[in-house]
Symmetry: C2
Subunit: 312 residues, 2 copies
């Protein structure tokens, strides 16, 4: 395999928010990017996402040689992978489609080039089933929006070589991301599982009339989130307990784990629950356009990340 630092050209496959977001990220880090879209009708959306991402990336600071001129946009898959030292695949989340794509990529991409999949819901063990060179295929799962949030969760499938997983971890770090190499291939990886646990409890509370979506978001934004952005939950408890740290936390509050805090099963997604969630969000949004809310979200994440960085 090529040394991670020697990579200069990336192929980003997929024209949706994840694929275009990855293209924006790699361009901002000074890479040449070959972006593959399925057909020309996707060009406008791709460029819109790229521009949105580029604004935030510029605010966060571009790498010295970063330029949108380094982008090549194509509907020719063979052309897209040509000369690429790493492939970031963000095709639609359908297993038959991914398997067919990896069968093709496995044959046309040189065997020493690592392929990383953005999949959030499929396993690499399934994706790589029809690939003739499965040992270099890994999951490299970003967190949305991929051009802003640093996390990339990395996992191999049954046929993935451990050196490919290790290489991906090093490469993503060189490319400006915060890699997390999974100990095992588990559904939802780490971040989505944590978020999903929280989300299920939120749905229970709304279903039971205990809180509204506005209450949920108020609680998160004004409670744990600003802290969690600068200190994960483990260290939050560790530091809050003073000298005794996590030991004090678990020894003192361990029994509280058995208290009826949070519900156990996912709630039935009834029509009523669905509508309460939808209506609640619409009320919060009021007359704001979603593009404006997304733009504001991005600007605020930039500000938060800069704030965290400047105080690190």
């Amino acid at each position: 395999m090529l040394p991670p630092r020697s990579i200069t050209r990336i192929a980003s496959i997929g024209g949706g928010p994840i694929g275009a977001g990855w293209a924006a990220h790699f361009l901002a880090r000074g890479y040449d990017v070959n972006a593959y879209i399925h057909d020309d009708s996707e060009r406008a959306v791709f460029h819109a996402i790229l521009q949105t991402g580029w604004k935030s990336l510029t605010d966060l600071g571009l790498s010295p040689n970063a330029s949108l001129d380094r982008l090549t946009l194509t509907t020719d898959l063979e052309k897209a992978v040509q000369g690429a030292g790493f492939i970031q695949e963000s095709a639609p989340e359908r297993i038959e489609l991914k398997q067919a794509l990896y069968a093709k990529l496995g044959a046309i991409v040189p065997a020493n080039v690592i392929i990383g999949s953005s999949t959030s819901g499929l396993t690499m063990t399934d994706i790589q089933r029809n690939c003739v060179t499965p040992e270099r295929c890994v999951i490299g799962h970003p967190f949305n929006p991929p051009y802003l949030l640093p996390l990339v969760e990395i996992a191999g499938g049954d046929q993935t070589g451990p050196e490919a997983v290790e290489w991906a971890g090093e490469f993503y770090k060189v490319a400006g991301k915060s890699p997390l190499i999974m100990k095992k291939e588990i559904p939802g990886f780490v971040a989505t599982r944590l978020q999903e646990a929280l989300w299920r409890e939120a749905l229970h509370m709304v279903a039971n009339g205990e809180a509204t979506p506005a209450d949920i978001d108020n609680a998160l934004m004004n409670g744990p989130a600003p802290r969690m952005a600068v200190q994960g939950q483990c260290m939050a408890f560790h530091v809050a307990c003073g000298e005794g740290g996590m030991a004090t936390n678990l020894d003192q509050f361990g029994p509280a784990l058995k208290l009826p805090w949070t519900r156990l099963d996912a709630p039935e997604l009834t029509e009523e629950l669905r509508n309460r969630m939808v209506d609640g969000c619409n009320e919060i949004a009021a007359d704001q356009r979603f593009e404006d809310m997304a733009a504001k979200r991005d600007a605020q994440i930039v500000a938060v990340l800069r704030a965290i960085r400047d105080t690190a």
Copy 2:
């Protein structure tokens, strides 16, 4: 009851991180504060917490008349509540102690003064059982550290008057907090339940060898948290789905709620799990002192809050 805006003096009961943190908050908002500590041996710790909080509060911006000179520190409970227009109670979390305290407060505090409890684990229905004026007793639960995080969750017990709950919501807002009035009195309120759901899943992952505490914190800090600080989980999904919003999210991803993402029961807190959590946190902390980590946490939360405020 007195108009919330007419309140000028607060009694803060309790010399620990929550009581002293509340004192710091109210002083920073320009109130006179009578702080009650159980005995003189608590003075040093109280002042240390106050100073720590004051630094962050100064960075965030003090109210015009805010001054540490407005503090009266006393071990005399009757003196502490004298002249106070609101009582913030942050005594130790033992039900017998709280019940005895409310029996006394119920008799010595004028009946038109609202008493708010910082309790995180008890219900007001239990706390107010021996109080002769239970109708004005509410829960006003802050999020740690109380001098920084804006959330206050408000709930009444069986004997609490609805007007007391409403008054507390208005008062906390006047006092610079983000109140959340609970629809029902449920254990853990909203924020802690959400955090606890996430925490249980984190413990499961560590117990199963799927992630380390460092992985958990890496995933949170570089994944959902910087976003959640500026956009709650409901609106995060709503906005991420574009025009379709929450409806698209639930209609498309609803079935995924049944996927084995996140575990269902709280894990057995075995000695092994306990030690993995403790060791993992100690490794992350390395040779940093906890005071330094807490100070850095505070400085970063300030920076994040300022960043969020400046981009609002």
